[in-house]
């Protein structure tokens, strides 16, 4: 699979192109079907909790299972139905946004507790970070007009070499990774971890 797609990228051969096209389509279908994997593991974990009447957990696990089953059935019957849309808009959307935003709290408490200039490296990171914070917030400019000037430089050329290298490293890493998977050196996929 790898070879066909790579070859299609480099060589202008028509028949190869259509094989690569079919393969890519296959990959899309498989990844779609695989979305259900998480569901099975969810039902297994919570099903077990209920079965064992795990103290303080099993009632909640029932909530999870009931929520899952009812919303899933509603959705399968009619995705545009009122109940499904309602659950989607008001329960799912809300929880999604809320959970995602909750790290905002932790960042602030960590700002006092965890972010210390332990050494020059961390110090530099914190200084650059704070300048960017004041560049992003309009108040920075009010405090000192220099913040956005330095900040814009940091956001442009300042961070560029560092990021450029992190990106190149990621690129090199991908190639090594591809090689290791193809040659069977990467345990994760084919060794299954045994």
């Amino acid at each position: 699979m790898f070879a066909v797609i790579i070859a299609d990228y480099f060589f202008a051969i028509a028949s190869l192109g259509s094989v690569a096209e079919v393969l890519r389509q296959f990959a899309v279908v498989i990844s779609n079907i695989a979305l259900g994997l998480g569901v099975i593991s969810l039902l297994r974990i919570h099903g077990r909790n209920v079965q064992r009447r795990l103290e303080g957990r099993w009632l909640y696990s029932i909530v999870t299972i009931i929520t899952f089953v009812s919303v899933f059935l509603l959705g399968i019957i009619n995705t545009n139905g009122d109940q499904y849309t309602w659950a989607f808009n008001h329960v799912y959307t809300t929880l999604q946004q809320t959970m995602y935003a909750s790290t905002g709290f932790f960042i602030v408490s960590s700002a006092y507790r965890a972010f210390r200039a332990r050494n020059i490296d961390a110090g530099l990171l914190l200084i650059a970070g704070c300048i960017v914070v004041f560049t992003n917030a309009p108040i920075g400019e009010v405090i000192w007009s220099g913040f956005p000037v330095i900040g814009d430089w940091l956001l442009g050329p300042g961070q560029l070499p560092g990021y450029r290298v992190l990106m190149m490293i990621a690129g090199f890493g991908t190639i090594v990774y591809a090689y290791r998977v193809i040659t069977g050196n990467e345990r994760g996929f084919f060794g299954g971890g045994e």
Binding site: I6, F10, M99, T103, S110, R113, V176, Y179, N185, E186
Partner: protein, 259 residues
């Protein structure tokens, strides 16, 4: 030429890399030694274990969230587990209790096996216990479990090495509250700034892979990394040359790379 326009350099880069990886792996198998350089976070592992031994406290390990089967997180979780093997060896030797928290169901057998082997090597297999390894259902419950455990058991050191997401900031803060020495490492770019600012040592991006390769010492792992260095040297050479040529108005190298 059947090669598509503008892809010649990319072609050379990819297949040149593959050939080099193969050659270096072979060279290693035939006895040539490549050494991965000293990585401070890796060197700090014995210190962390020593601290725990002195204070009579446990050490915590978190190999990250996600699935070891996934394309985005798999490799990093496995790299974290390789490093775990080394740490478990130190812990077994010093008699320090190693506590591990994970959500990665599919890596559980591997994790247990890795730790058990490390204890067996030190001849202390009877000190190993499955109870010290906790499997937790999902990311958020892992966070709350870890927060609770840190408070109750107050470890003297903690390692957060693997594929980390938003929990990195929360867990490292928890470690700082009890004054644990912390070693971290991930390839999730968004989390690295937080780890650098809040833990003592951090493996940045590919350092995690290099560290895992150094620990395993396996030709299939170290060889490609050594070969990659050759490619990096070549890139460095091109950039240095290019920087000298640019002010002179010579665009030959830029044009060449555009092929």
């Amino acid at each position: 030429m059947i090669l598509k326009d503008g892809r010649i350099v990319a072609f050379i880069l990819l297949f040149g890399s593959f050939v080099l990886y193969y050659l270096f792996t072979r060279m290693m198998e035939q006895g040539k030694a490549f050494k991965i350089r000293t990585l401070a976070p890796l060197e700090a592992l014995p210190e962390a274990v020593g601290r725990c031994a002195e204070m009579g406290k446990p050490i915590f390990y978190m190999p990250g969230i996600g699935s070891s089967l996934s394309l985005s997180s798999g490799a990093y979780i496995l790299a974290g587990i390789t490093i775990l093997g080394r740490l478990a060896g130190f812990a077994a030797k010093a008699g320090v209790k190693l506590r591990l928290f994970t959500v990665t169901i599919d890596a559980m057998p591997l994790i247990q096996d890795t730790i058990k082997t490390a204890y067996a090597v030190e001849g202390k297999v009877e000190e190993y216990s499955d109870d010290n390894i906790e499997l937790i259902a999902n990311q958020s419950s892992l966070v709350s479990r870890y927060l609770g455990a840190v408070q109750r058991e107050s470890p003297a050191a903690a390692c957060l090495i693997g594929y980390l997401a938003y929990e990195s900031v929360v867990l490292s803060e928890a470690g700082n509250i009890v004054g644990a020495m912390q070693i971290s490492g991930t390839v999730n770019l968004y989390q690295i700034p937080f780890l650098v600012a809040s833990t003592d040592y951090t493996l940045i991006m590919e350092e995690l892979f290099a560290a895992a390769a150094a620990v395993s010492g396996d030709a299939g792992a170290v060889g490609p990394i050594a070969a990659e260095d050759v490619i990096k040297f070549a890139s460095l050479g091109i950039m240095i040359l290019g920087m000298v040529l640019a002010p002179l108005g010579i665009t030959f190298l830029v044009d060449l790379l555009g092929l």
